[in-house]
């Protein structure tokens, strides 16, 4: 299953994603999609170095899938983290156009 690598930026806590250039981007869509376990392992090792250099904290891999042609996190938790609170569309990455390109997570029937 493909993965991306995510973390929080140390100084302000903003959720960031590792890019193909091994930099960190606030935009989910800049995340490098890692096709297999070997790629995830190598990227995680690079990310761990950035954690050791005090750039980011709480580094981990997030499983992603392609839905309607867009890369999205597989788990609801990660989809919310990548977009922002479902109850406040004006906050988080979704408010800045930095969230996943897929349709927003439904809030309900009301």
């Amino acid at each position: 299953m493909p993965d991306i690598i995510t973390a929080n930026r140390l100084a302000d806590g903003v959720v960031v994603f590792q890019t193909a250039e091994s930099t960190w981007s606030e935009d989910f869509n800049d995340a490098e999609v890692l096709p297999d376990a070997a790629a995830t392992k190598a990227a995680s090792a690079r990310a761990a170095e950035d954690a050791a250099r005090n750039l980011v904290v709480d580094v981990y891999a997030v499983a992603v899938e392609t839905r309607n042609g867009h890369v999205v996190p597989k788990a609801l938790r990660e989809a919310i983290r990548a977009a922002g609170p479902t109850v406040r569309r004006d906050l988080g990455k979704q408010a800045q156009g930095l969230g996943p390109r897929s349709a927003p997570i439904a809030v309900g029937d009301a």
Partner: protein, 557 residues
């Protein structure tokens, strides 16, 4: 209310300076995250789903207008223009930057506030009845005792590394509004036959993964023994509480494993061995602290206001507000106003900076500068003259804070859930919003009567679902949110843990399930005066089970 003395101020200022140094060292790379984490947690700074989260203590839920304005300013300058009032009478900011937190703590210290003891395995912020000092049924104001416990427990070296967090609540009225039996220690103020003040002491209550109602270990603890006895409980717990498994580390598990009688015996033995000279509480110290909480001098007024009656007659929504959000004050001609932070369709407990400022202004103009925060995630204006109600109502309405639903089905407690919390397994806020939208704050909600719905987004139960009349627990199953419903829980003096009604419901169907439960109650209640909880206690789970799983399509799990 309490005001810092020089010692308190120096202590809090020193703490801010220490944390500033720790943050500087972390940002400079001199501290690793592993080294830094305990420091940030001891100052209330968590790393949550989207960002850091700062939890600010509001001791026993009492604050003044100046402090509320500071909370608004912090929300505006350092966060995203709002804060979230929690089920522990605290406020959380959801988006602060680490680099800004020393400045935020300095701002808080300038108004006698801090974020100490809002995290970690220590004695947490002590909570109390939000109607303290104004309730009709009060034996004594619980806040002086809560404040004494706060001073004694702040950074207490022996109790800063307990097996797990430790929560104390104090209630001073006959009706328990502080959920004391769901706390590690619950203190109920009582009077003995001689008229002396003391405490009924409950130990081992708690929600979370393994919920227990607290058990009474003392029917009457004399006031002077408060600290000695609380220390004895903590000593036994600190020594014997499990440290091998965080899910079995709370004192409730120790009590369950050892039995009430054994634990009680150990507490009493420890209490007998205490240092009396050090811990006996001098009456003059109680009086000194109590003086801070002396009620304001309220002008005696008529118990009926023509202005209020005229407005009630012509304005149905104002009449609803009077019925739901206004409680008699112990001083005639005055009332206690509950400011609902549950507007229909909005996140429970959220409050914008502008709303905080508006409440601060109202407190200054109409409530002797005082504000309370309830564990039910509402605000309280505790000392309002009856005749001022129309003006207070109009100003609340102008900032979206006059929702007339206190105590009703749409006055829902909900934890932040998966929308904000790193530990959550499902969303709780949008479920609360949808239930509130379904029942509203009008005739339908009024017809249902008092009904406490409490929602947690994970097993840790920050949303108190176990003690909700209707409790909802959000879990994750096979990648989907699923909601388990419990019925018949209660957090008052007749505390009870709710019973699981049956298999869970999907995110889509959980609101409909609540509707079925409510319709079933309406159909079986003896008359409109029989509340949901009373009716449940009479009929039990069976009719609700039948309605949910047999008559309808049933659970979708």
């Amino acid at each position: 209310m309490y005001h810092y003395d020089d010692f308190d101020q120096a202590f809090v200022d020193a703490r801010v300076a220490q944390f500033r140094d720790q943050v500087d060292r972390r940002l400079a790379g001199d501290l690793t995250e592993e080294q830094f984490r305990p420091h940030r947690l001891m100052n209330g700074l968590y790393l949550q789903l989207h960002a850091y989260m700062l939890r600010v203590a509001i001791p026993y839920g009492t604050l003044d207008a100046r402090q509320m304005r500071k909370l608004a300013e912090i929300a505006r300058v350092y966060d995203r223009g709002y804060g979230h009032f929690t089920t522990r009478q605290n406020i959380q900011y959801n988006w602060p930057a680490l680099k800004d937190t020393p400045d935020i703590l300095a701002e808080l210290a300038s108004v006698e506030m801090h974020a100490i003891q809002t995290s970690g395995n220590c004695i947490r912020n002590v909570t109390a009845d939000h109607f303290a000092g104004v309730a009709h049924d009060e034996i004594a104001d619980p806040r002086p005792y809560a404040e004494i416990l706060r001073q004694w427990s702040s950074l207490h070296p022996e109790f800063s590394f307990l097996p797990r967090k430790f929560k104390i609540a104090v209630n001073g009225a006959t009706h328990d509004r502080a959920v004391i039996q769901a706390h590690d220690i619950g203190l109920q103020v009582v009077r003995n036959e001689g008229g002396e003040i003391g405490f009924a002491v409950y130990v081992g209550g708690g929600l979370g993964r393994t919920p227990f109602v607290g058990r009474k270990v003392r029917a009457f603890l004399p006031e002077r023994d408060l600290l000695g006895y609380v220390e004895a409980i903590l000593r036994v717990y600190n020594l014997e509480g499990r440290r091998d498994n965080k899910y079995k580390a709370r004192i409730k598990i120790l009590m369950h494993e050892k039995t009430l009688e054994t634990l009680k015996g150990e507490i009493e033995a420890e209490f007998e061995a205490r240092d009396r000279a050090l811990l006996d509480l001098p009456p003059e110290e109680v009086a000194r602290v109590a003086a801070f909480f002396a009620p304001p001098a309220l002008e005696l007024k008529k118990p009926v206001s023509d202005r209020v009656e005229r407005r009630r007659d012509k304005d149905a929504r104002f009449a609803s507000f009077l019925a739901a959000n206004v409680t008699p004050h112990k001083a005639p001609g005055h009332v206690v106003v509950t400011v609902s932070l549950k507007p229909i369709g909005a996140p429970p407990g959220d409050c914008s900076a502008d709303q905080m400022d508006a409440v601060a202004d109202l407190a200054e103009d109409y409530s002797h500068g005082e504000i309370r925060v309830s564990h039910e995630q509402n605000l309280i204006l505790p000392h309002v003259a009856l005749g001022d109600l129309p003006a207070v109502y109009d100003r609340l309405a102008s900032v979206g804070l006059a929702t007339p639903n206190a105590g009703q089905i749409s006055d829902i407690i909900a934890c932040p859930g998966l929308d904000y919390c790193a530990l959550a397994t499902a969303r709780s806020i949008p479920v609360a919003e949808r239930i509130a939208q379904k029942f509203g704050d009008g005739a339908k909600a009024r017809a249902i009567g008092p009904l406490k719905v409490k929602i947690s987004g994970c097993i840790n139960a920050c949303g108190h679902h176990h003690v909700g009349h209707i409790g909802i627990l959000g879990l994750e199953r096979a990648g989907e949110e699923t909601y388990q419903i419990t019925l018949g829980g209660s957090g008052d003096e007749n505390a009870a843990i709710g019973q699981i009604v049956g298999p869970g419901f999907s995110y889509e169907n959980v609101v409909e399930a609540v509707e079925t439960i409510v319709e079933t109650y309406m159909g079986l209640r003896a008359d409109a005066s029989e509340t949901f909880l009373d009716a449940f206690r009479r009929v039990g789970l069976a009719p609700f089970k039948e309605a949910l799983y047999e008559r309808s399509a049933g659970s979708d799990i």
